[in-house]
């Protein structure tokens, strides 16, 4: 066995965002030894950037809300290809998960009479998002972190995992390296939970933090797990488009929830012209009613700006493509106009959307209480991920669990805002609980010296290639070219020929990635980290592209210019990717499980 430090845990959790921390807390509560590995510092995970809130049918603001409504909203948003069992569990369990956060010290914004305040969000029928200003994710991470550290979770910070270790079919640990010293570490565990978040860094314009490189998706795939729904990548309709350094950064849907309107360069509110039929009944048909909705009028219907994200994003792309965009290639999002409606509008905006105000003031030199913002779509979330059992969150590989963004199922073809935070709480908890159970029922597996040696050798390869001699290229340009290509060829609007070109491009990028070299030493070397990230980025990019080519219809976030309509057969089909025996990516179709009658009835009743 190579002489690397070995850590023994019952349950190893990879990722320190909301799902990872929640899983760690749950596993810890089950009295097993829990280790948590993260490649950033604790508390810096992408979850801290979540702004809007946690969707949970607490029914504090509108007592007509309930799990049935939340479930129906989630299924409708996901175009009915969601894993119904996950959507059901999620809607039923989210309120308890929110209350539990308060019991651990989080403090959500309050209604005047002191209950948890809930705000409106796109696709949710009633005000449903428990929030802390526009910093909900930060409050959530702090709460989970303080609670988890107090419970005695072992945290390994700044350790990146390069490979999952297997004993036969089963996952029995992971091999990683610590970034500070560049030393390899072996984690021996009875169960592993992946909670690594998204893949945003495969795209050039993204709201995701720099750590969202699809590591969990790739680790699971290479360990033999199946990836599901990878064609569904959500583009958030409103990201900053200017200045370039913050291009892609999120402008929360909360802006629209508070009354913000989208207009094109001619000043027209273009969203009202394109309300899809299945949303007509619950969308306002005039601006006045829309405004009343944002101000809490329970009898008003929501304005067209609060339609689902996929739809709004495509409408924005259409405006830009047809020449009605703003100077920097976006559309206008205006909240300052509310000064015509309410007194002290500037103060109101600053209080309701403090970090948006700061973000634009500080980084864009724009005062959102006086001027409109320039916004355009940005890569935000992947609905696809590791295919897991709805109740236990275990993948088809024994001992390997996944939760949060890196797991698939709950969101179907499109996620509603606010459902990601509730998703990671509900399924983070379930993953932690069942991983602990699995660990208790299993014997420790054998780790293989050969696998570790091979993993370490391939991770160190980039050091053997001398970049300065000019023979080999560094990793940054490869990463940039990949992001550029995915943005161009597999973006919001997709076409067969473009995506086939992308597939050829990916093969070339794989070649280049296998030959990148890095300079310097192993200690805290960002070039090396990027070289290793490339393997994950390329794996997930290939998965997205292959699934997107196969799905010859438009549904939710997946929009095909050459197949602009829904197709009934595809509507009943899931696309599943798996590593074949020859190492190539294999895709197969599988029928979607049918909705049981009692849930069909719920959806009917909520229509």
């Amino acid at each position: 066995m190579p002489d690397y430090p070995t850590h023994e845990h019952d349950v190893l959790i990879i990722g320190s965002g909301g799902a990872g921390l929640r899983a760690a807390i749950e596993a810890s509560a089950a009295a097993v030894k829990v280790g948590l590995v993260c490649k950033c510092l604790l508390g810096k995970a992408h979850t801290v950037m979540a702004e809007g809130g946690i969707a949970a049918a607490l029914a504090n603001v509108d007592e007509r809300d309930g799990w049935q409504v939340h479930f129906a909203d989630t299924m409708r948003g996901g175009q009915y290809v969601n894993n119904w069992r996950m959507a059901e569990l999620h809607a039923k369990e989210a309120p308890a998960r929110v209350r539990e956060l308060e019991a651990w010290g989080a403090l959500f914004d309050r209604t005047p009479d002191g209950r948890i305040l809930q705000r409106n969000f796109g696709g949710h029928k009633y005000p449903r998002l428990a929030h802390v200003g526009d910093r909900t994710g930060l409050e959530m991470i702090r709460t989970l972190q303080d609670h988890g550290v107090h419970l005695g979770i072992d945290v390994h910070m700044e350790v990146a995992i390069v490979e999952l270790l297997k004993d036969g079919d089963r996952v029995v640990g992971a091999l990683g390296y610590d970034r500070e010293r560049g030393q390899f570490k072996i984690f021996h565990a009875k169960a592993v939970v992946l909670a690594t978040g998204g893949i945003g860094k495969s795209y050039k314009i993204t709201s995701n933090s720099w750590d969202c490189t699809g590591d969990g998706h790739a680790l699971a795939y290479h360990a033999g797990a199946e990836l599901l729904d990878m064609e569904y990548v959500q583009f958030h309709p409103t990201g900053m488009v200017w200045p370039p350094s913050v291009c892609g950064m999120l402008v929360t849907e909360g802006v629209r929830g508070e009354g913000g309107i989208l207009t094109n360069k001619d000043g027209k509110r273009f969203m009202f012209d394109s309300i899809p039929d299945n949303y007509k009944a619950q969308t306002a048909d005039n601006e006045e009613e829309g405004w009343r909705y944002t101000q809490g009028d329970r009898n008003a219907r929501r304005p067209a700006e609060l339609l689902t994200r996929d739809h709004v994003a495509r409408c924005i792309v259409r405006e830009i493509k047809e020449g009605r965009g703003t100077p920097h290639g976006g559309v206008w999002l205006d909240i300052s106009w509310i000064k015509k409606r309410i007194p002290n509008a500037a103060e109101h905006i600053k209080r309701k959307l403090p970090s948006m105000y700061h973000q634009f003031k500080q980084l864009g030199d724009v005062d959102i209480t006086r001027e409109p913002m320039e916004v355009g779509p940005t890569t935000h979330y992947i609905m696809g991920g590791v295919r897991v059992n709805a109740d236990t969150q275990m993948s088809c590989v024994p001992g390997l669990f996944a939760a949060g963004e890196c797991a698939a199922g709950i969101n179907g073809a499109n996620r509603l805002g606010g459902n990601s935070l509730s998703d990671l709480l509900v399924f983070g908890k379930r993953a932690g609980e069942h991983a602990a159970k699995f660990a208790k029922e299993s014997k420790a597996g054998q780790i293989s010296a050969a696998q570790i040696e091979e993993g370490a050798r391939s991770a160190l390869e980039p050091f053997d290639r001398n970049v300065s001699a000019g023979q080999f290229e560094g990793p940054y340009q490869v990463q940039y070219d990949l992001q550029e290509m995915m943005q161009r060829e597999v973006g919001i609007v997709r076409r067969q020929d473009e995506m086939e070109r992308a597939l050829e491009g990916l093969a070339k990028l794989w070649e280049r990635a296998r030959r990148v070299g890095v300079t310097g030493h192993r200690q805290f070397n960002p070039g090396w980290h990027t070289a290793l990230d490339l393997r994950s980025l390329l794996t997930v990019s290939e998965a997205v592209t292959r699934a997107a080519i196969e799905r010859k219809e438009s549904r939710g976030a997946h929009f095909r210019e050459d197949f602009p309509d829904k197709d009934a057969t595809f509507g009943k089909t899931s696309l599943i990717l798996r590593k074949g025996p020859d190492g190539a990516m294999q895709l197969r179709r599988e029928p979607l499980p049918a909705l049981p009658d009692h849930l069909k009835k719920v959806i009917e009743e909520m229509k």
């Binding site: 539990e100 019991a103 403090l107 309050r110 933090s209």
Partner: protein, 245 residues
Amino acid sequence: MPKITVSVQRRASDQDARSFETHEVELSDKASVLDALFALQRGPCPDLAFRFSCRVGMCGSCAMVVNGREQLTCSVLVKDIGNTLRIEPLRNLPVKRDLAVDMKPFFAAYQRTLPNFTPRDDLDPSDFYRLPLDSKEWKAMSHQPQCIDCGACYSACTLVTLHPRYVGPMALHRALNLIVDPRDKSRSERLNLVTGEAGAFRCHTLGNCRDVCPRGISPTHSIERLKRLAVWEPFRKMFARIFPA
């Protein structure tokens, strides 16, 4: 935009001598200091070590000392600083490599202040606590912006430099948040912990932490409040004994 001269500190570890490496880089109009570092990493210094993650001042990974002052490098524009940048790692913490410091002492100080919420025994764990916006309890809570533990205040604090046992501004500010939380039961214990020699009374009210906080928090204000609470605590306890609720 003209070319910018950027000097960055290079250092293999805390034991090594400090040295500066200087390059000229071309940047766009509204480039942030972090963009200047990216330009170096993609150009002449591919192995330059520094932390970053979110790019919009939310995660608190990228705090460094820029031209002598703590800044979140993603959230400050180069044009607001000038044509010459001198970038160093945070102070009061050992250097791991180049611009990345070891945050362990900072987190350890925080852990010494009983940072986890301890719910009162009479709370119903299955429901939320009623906190009307016009109640005394709500008004008494700390409503400053949320901390992102970037470490800027810890780096800027002179008292941390002079007394390494001092827990520093961030830990004290966060302790205050819990002390004034009506749902928490450890008020006295925590107040005791954070107002000793290594706590609030070590602060000389210099206000450096307030000046550098990228979130606009005033830990100075929180620490002053802690001092006042500590002075009143014996009386509060006495009243509570005489007039039990």
